[in-house]
């Protein structure tokens, strides 16, 4: 015989009683391990999606609208040397498109169109062969189109332009390309069907075509804009990515960046120019001075005017000072001192009588278009003094000074010009056509480079060419090499991104990281209820063994030794429960996953969730549940061992109960303090930030619950205490006269004060949490026109696959569009990158930026602000903070609370690192936080400052629209009809907010369910209390039967007694809810009374059912045996 054998025997002997303890621990373990496993599953799922999305791709380089030679992939692969473990280098084309059935039907926008070759498919599972007229669709796009193999589709996409479409002189027309293709295959998700460079939680519509065919359709033969590098077995380290960048720098040519060197005729030297018209400023800086070059700028003027005479559409060249200095001496040797500022040299063709009839000293006015600050087209003019009339000979005939303006430079006739601005072809004269025929783009006027830059320098650059003397280089090739040596792809922002590592990081750093903790929090009440029930059942079982405990103490066991035995039993039971709980957790997790895939799908978006439970979560969760149960058991059994052995042997412990009145003496003042504290916390949280509101809400509710528990405790103590002196000294006759059946029942309640109090507290807490969370369900705004609300006063959000180069309320030529009279439009430029919204469970490192005009938002007083970073000013209009000067490399940003707090984990003053198009790092810093709004998912920055960082950003791809007419849907129809080829998606803002709220409300629903389970467990506990109470009082009840009480009456008495307890618990929970919600009510919270009433009714019904069942069970059979045993 050993203590261990005693413990085993005790466990086996009371196994029926202990079953409840085991089940309680099992439930707690299952809930905790299930929640943690859910987090594991989500993380594993996101990781799997990320890896599936990329296939074997480890790094990627996307160059946007700058297309490089597709053979760069081969050259890079050769440079890398093909080491073991090195995989594929594939060139591809990535662009946006719309897809439609050519026979009709609405086009599907936001299609990711990929031009690929065989090497791309080496990054996947198996190749997909595509002819030039074929397309492969991923399953999502095929589903949206209803397309199958053999169907014919029309793909429409934007061709890459030399200039952004909305830049002055950008080519707006003829930018659209199309391909008519037959569906050759449906690509599975595990074979790059989900391919994308962004970690987005939303499904991606992918279409794959032959790269060469797509390049030809885009007028980019032999070119690509995406390099994918894949390693079969490992992700590269940062050092390896740097090696890739070095290999690229060693391999690329200036032609890959659209640069070229031409030999200027007649020994005039060499010229570096760009197919993108303007040379980026950093290219100029890297090349001009170090290589002894000189920048020039050519521009198209609308008109040259002297007096009342004018010449239309003339090229004007802005030349460096030494160009003028070299030519300052006239043909007769005179030196006139060069060209001063605001003077112009005019060629004699333009100065001729047939044109301007101009002379030296006359004032020449140059009219030209520029892009204004609000992205409108504006015509400006500048006046110059004619300093010289130059001949049409020698250096003054220089067609190369005209930049390769798209749709201008290559045409034969003036009349065929297609600039992005309106050209009055009627003004083109035969003389102009003659000039064009003879001299092409030779400038008619020459101004200083400084003047030219002031007038015509823009976001695309401040020079159109760099010229080098003929002596500087030996040949064009020599010049190309020298220039290439001065440039680095990184200066263009061409650096490889470790997309695989970024994807895995985003999957691990996003909300998924704390999903397990979130669900644990949601399940906390369920877990706590289970642990509490476990302890209660264990104590009940031990109380029945009071005689055994007394005996052990009597024969010499110390209280500590007995306690160790009991805790040992509890530990063994809890261990068994934990182990069983792990098994139950597997099923519970599967249930939760099923719910997340169906009724709770909004919580995880379109991410396919697969089951994955880590050993750490299972072991850790089980250990925590085991420890918590053990702690509860240990605390609960302490009370038993305070009795003397003689009391235990007499069975006093099993019947003892109730606190001494003295211990409840301070209940009233303590409760009053709690109530005051609750009111104060509620007032403190009212109108405060969300975090403070939540703290105030929880604090107020908790204090109210505490006050309720204190008062109930006091009342129970009074019930348990014998009648005192004074009035009570009439106890003999008076007490007997006042004795009632109900009074007997309530006295019984008082004898079990601790037990009763536990049940009341559990019920009250559970109900408070359930009701209070339920009351916080969000509803979409009723009036989208409310400016300070979540819609900002806008009724629609329009997303365009192909950005609009001009404002929605303008025509392409910049004139107002009468159809939009009275409307308000907020136009946004969007960078590439994933949304940082709550439905994206990945945490993007560089979320999408949205360029907006803060002035429009300020004027419309759009959206509401939660908080503003201190010390930055902002004053009455926080939108002005978008213009704040925080340093040269800092871009102020504003975003709404869900984006910052939940998706990105950022607060005011925090920042994110970005790299602009020129490879320069800069910080986007949060300066203000909006209330939850339709702007969720993007960081708002000033539009013009965004263009400085990303000058190639063209047009507006997102619009918010406020439509003044009664028929709001007319706006949507107008957009869809007028811009159908841009793949518009028009969504009412109320619908957007409903989607966002659906996500939030889903989490609340989850909490309601899990909280409801906890309350149900609490009501089961009350049923157990009823059973145990009755078993303790079997002798008493038997006596009552013996003196004439019927079984039905006994049952009613038990029901009244315990329903009273239940009513106290419910009342305390409801009171705490009301106190906690009052501040929110004052702030306008709309409470779903029906839902809450339903929940309350269900809980109450559950309680009644459990109590009735327990009372019926306990009073069945013969109670007279109890009399005999007494």
């Amino acid at each position: 015989m050993t203590r261990w054998s005693l413990l085993r025997a005790s466990l086996w002997h009371d196994r029926r009683t202990h079953l409840g303890v085991v089940l309680g621990v099992m439930v707690a373990t299952a809930a905790l391990v299930g929640a943690l496993s859910l987090g594991d599953s989500l993380r594993a799922s996101l990781r799997a999606v990320a890896l599936e999305r990329l296939g074997h791709t480890t790094e990627a380089l996307l160059t946007g609208d700058r297309y490089f030679r597709d053979v760069l992939a081969d050259e890079l692969a050769d440079q890398l040397g093909g080491e073991p473990g090195e995989g594929t280098v594939a060139a591809a084309i990535l662009t946006r498109a719309t897809a439609a059935d050519p026979a009709g039907g609405a086009p599907v926008g936001a299609v990711q169109l990929l031009g690929v070759d065989g090497r791309f498919w080496q990054l996947g599972r198996e190749p997909v062969a595509l002819r030039s007229d074929e397309v492969a669709l991923n399953r999502y796009l095929a589903g949206r189109l209803g397309a199958a193999v053999g169907d014919v589709l029309m793909l429409r996409f934007d061709k890459p332009a030399a200039l952004p479409a909305d830049a002055v002189l950008g080519d707006l027309e003829d930018r659209r390309g199309s391909m008519r293709v037959r569906v050759a295959a449906i690509v599975d998700d595990d074979n790059l069907g989900r391919f994308g460079l962004e970690a987005t939680g939303r499904p991606v519509a992918n279409a794959f075509v032959d790269r060469s065919a797509l390049a030809a359709a885009m007028d980019q033969p032999g070119r690509a804009n995406l390099l994918l590098v894949g390693a079969a077995q490992r992700s590269r380290s940062a050092a390896d990515v740097a090696r890739l960048d070095r290999a690229l720098a060693a391999t690329w040519r200036i032609e890959d960046a659209g640069l070229s060197v031409i030999d200027l005729d007649n020994g005039r030297g060499y010229q570096l120019q760009s197919r993108h018209v303007f040379l980026p400023a950093h290219v100029r800086r890297a090349v001009e001075r170090p290589l002894g070059g000189r920048a020039v700028l050519g521009y198209l003027a609308n008109e040259l005017t002297v007096g009342d005479r004018s010449v239309p559409y003339a090229i004007v060249a802005a030349m460096p000072d030494d160009w003028f200095a070299h030519r300052s001496a006239g043909p007769d040797g005179e030196v006139d001192g060069g060209n001063d500022a605001r003077t112009v040299w005019l060629n004699d063709w333009a100065a001729d009588e047939q044109d301007l009839a101009a002379s030296v000293g006359d004032e020449l006015t140059i009219r030209y278009y520029v892009e204004s600050a609000d992205s409108r087209l504006a015509e400006r003019s500048a006046s110059f003094r004619i300093a010289r009339i130059v001949p049409m000979a020698g250096p003054y005939i220089d067609p190369a000074l005209m930049p390769p303006f798209p749709s201008i430079a290559e045409v034969e006739h003036h009349a065929d010009w297609k600039a992005g601005v309106s050209i009055d072809l009627g003004r083109i004269r035969p003389r102009d056509e003659d000039y064009w025929r003879l001299y092409r783009g030779s400038p008619r006027a020459f101004v200083t480079l400084d003047d030219g830059r002031v007038l015509w320098g823009g976001r695309s650059g401040d020079s159109t060419a760099i010229r080098f003397d003929a002596t500087r280089f030996d040949s064009v090739e020599d010049a190309r090499r020298a220039i290439g040596a001065r440039l680095d792809p990184g200066q263009l922002g061409w650096t490889f991104q470790p997309v695989r590592r970024q994807a895995l990081t985003a999957a691990g750093q996003g909300p998924a990281r704390y999903f397990g903790g979130l669900f644990t929090g949601l399940s906390l009440f369920l877990i706590a209820a289970a642990v509490m029930l476990t302890a209660m059942l264990f104590v009940f079982a031990v109380e029945q063994r009071g005689g055994q405990i007394g005996l052990l103490l009597a024969v010499g066991f110390t209280a500590r030794q007995v306690r160790r035995l009991l805790i040992g039993e509890g530990a063994a039971l809890a261990l068994l429960g934990s182990v069983l709980g792990i098994a139950a957790a597997l099923g519970y997790t599967q249930l939760l996953l099923l719910a997340l895939r169906t009724v709770w799908a909004d919580a995880v978006g379109s991410t396919p969730i697969v089951f994955s439970a880590g050993a750490g979560s299972m072991a850790g969760g089980a250990a925590i549940a085991w420890l918590a149960s053990l702690a509860a058991i240990g605390l609960s059994t302490r009370r038993l061992l305070r009795f003397e052995p003689s009391s235990l042997l007499r069975g006093v412990a099993a019947h003892a109960g109730g606190d001494a009145p003295g211990r409840a003496r301070y209940a009233w003042p303590a409760a009053a303090l709690c109530v005051l504290g609750a009111v104060a916390l509620g007032a403190w949280g009212q109108g405060a930030s969300a975090g403070m509101q939540a703290a105030g809400f929880i604090g107020a509710g908790t204090l109210t619950l505490a006050a309720a528990v204190l008062l109930v405790r006091r009342w129970l103590a009074r019930l348990a205490a014998p009648r005192e002196g004074g009035r009570g000294t009439a106890a003999g006759a008076g007490a007997a006269a006042r004795l009632t059946w109900a009074g007997l029942s309530w006295q019984a309640v008082g004898r079990r004060a601790g037990r009763s109090l536990t049940v009341i507290a559990v019920l009250a807490c559970g109900l408070f949490l359930t009701l209070a969370i339920g009351a916080n369900r969000q509803a979409p705004p009723s009036d989208p026109l409310e400016r300070g609300g979540p819609t900002g006063g806008y009724q629609f959000m329009v997303n365009l696959t192909h950005p609009l180069p001009h404002r929605l309320d303008q025509r392409p030529d910049g004139t107002p569009d009468a159809a939009w009279a009275g409307s308000e439009v907020l136009a946004m430029r969007l960078t590439a990158g994933p949304q940082a919204s709550c439905d994206n469970l990945n945490r993007p490192a560089q979320p999408r930026l949205a360029g907006v005009d803060g002035g429009v938002l300020a004027a419309g007083e759009a959206f509401g602000f939660m908080s503003v970073a201190p010390g930055l000013g902002g004053g009455e209009q926080p939108w002005d903070l978008l213009q704040a000067d925080l340093g040269p490399d800092v871009l102020p940003a504003i975003a709404d609370q869900p984006t910052l707090l939940w998706a990105l984990g950022l607060g005011l003053g925090d920042g994110l690192s970005y790299t602009d198009e020129r490879g320069r790092d800069f910080e986007v810093r949060i300066v203000a936080m909006l209330e939850p709004s339709v702007l969720q998912g993007t960081l708002l920055v000033d539009s013009s400052r965004l263009l400085q960082r990303y000058p190639s950003l063209e047009g507006y791809s997102r619009l918010l629209v406020r439509w003044p007419q009664a028929d709001a849907d007319a706006a949507g129809r107008l957009i869809t009809r007028a811009h159908a080829d841009r793949g518009p998606s028009v969504v009412p803002t109320i619908e957007l907010m409903s989607r966002f709220h659906a996500l939030e409300n889903t989490y609340l629903s989850i909490f309601l369910l899990l909280g409801g389970l906890g309350v149900a467990l609490g009501s089961l506990g009350l049923g157990v209390v009823v059973l145990r109470q009755v078993m303790d009082r079997r002798g008493e009840l038997a006596l009552l039967r013996a003196v004439g009480f019927s079984r039905a009456r006994l049952m009613r008495g038990l029901m009244v007694e315990h329903l009273g307890l239940a009513a106290l618990g419910l009342a305390a929970g409801v009171a705490a809810t009301i106190v906690a919600l009052v501040p929110a009510w004052r702030d306008g919270l709309a409470v779903a009374w029906l839902s809450l009433s339903l929940v309350l009714a269900v809980v109450a019904a559950s309680l009644v059912a459990w109590i009735a069942l327990a009372a019926w069970w306990a009073t069945r059979g013969s109670l007279l045996d109890a009399l005999r045993s007494e």
Partner: protein, 229 residues
């Protein structure tokens, strides 16, 4: 050798409603030597069990001293009182309090678990069970024994650690006449054979008379008994 000494021991209880304390025992002095057998009788509720609990260090006196085998109980902490009960005292209660989950043999060995049971303990247990005629029931659980058999097992349990003092509180209260007689005979026999001091509380006068000395507890004090069975 004095096994137990009570020196002017009193026990009072304060009512929950306040007021004067109720004296259950009032100035009791007593000395029990090794091998003595004392029966204490008295009406129900007179404090017999209270007196026995004080003798067994299961309770503390309100006044006076309780010295067990030379140890003043008042000066001992919980641990040493427990050790005293384990090594010096054996208890037999009205309800046998056998652990239902243990066999007869295991129940007898329960007191030895405090210091760790050994083979010698097992041998002694089997020997004692043999003596009371229950050796063949040693693997049975209490549910299969009669009330009298359970009480006899409880007696053996009380003797397993060779106590100097055996306290029996109404040991025959749950037994019929024949069973009660047999049990008392067993107690007397063990008292004589093992020279263990025996104090038995009972309201059955005829059984009390079988012990050498009978005292009556009346009004909180011990009086010589002059009655006849």
């Amino acid at each position: 050798m004095t096994v137990l000494e009570l020196d002017n021991v009193s026990r009072h209880y304060a009512p929950a409603t306040g007021g004067a304390a109720i004296a259950v025992l009032d100035g009791i002095s007593l000395r029990i030597e090794r091998g003595d057998a004392l029966a204490i009788i008295g009406p129900s509720g007179c404090g017999k069990s209270t007196l026995l609990n004080l003798m067994g260090a299961l309770d503390q006196p309100s006044a006076g001293r309780v010295v067990i085998d030379g140890y003043d109980v008042a000066g001992l902490d919980d641990r040493r009182r427990a050790k005293l009960r384990n090594e010096r005292i054996g208890f037999v209660f009205q309800a046998h309090h056998l652990l239902p989950q243990c066999t007869v043999l295991e129940n007898v060995l329960v007191p030895t678990l405090v210091r760790g049971s050994c083979a010698a303990d097992r041998a002694r247990a089997e020997d004692l069970l043999e003596r009371i005629g229950l050796a063949d029931r040693r693997t049975h659980r209490p549910g299969r024994l009669s009330g009298g058999e359970c009480q006899r097992v409880a007696v053996v349990r009380a003797l397993i650690n060779r106590p100097a003092l055996l306290l029996a509180d109404e040991p025959t209260g749950s037994l019929d006449r024949a069973g009660a007689t047999k049990l008392v005979e067993l107690l007397v026999e063990l008292n004589q054979q093992q020279q263990v001091a025996l104090v038995m509380v009972t309201h059955a006068v005829e059984l009390a008379a079988r012990l050498g000395t009978v005292r009556e507890l009346r009004d909180g004090r011990l009086h010589p008994w002059r009655g006849v069975p």
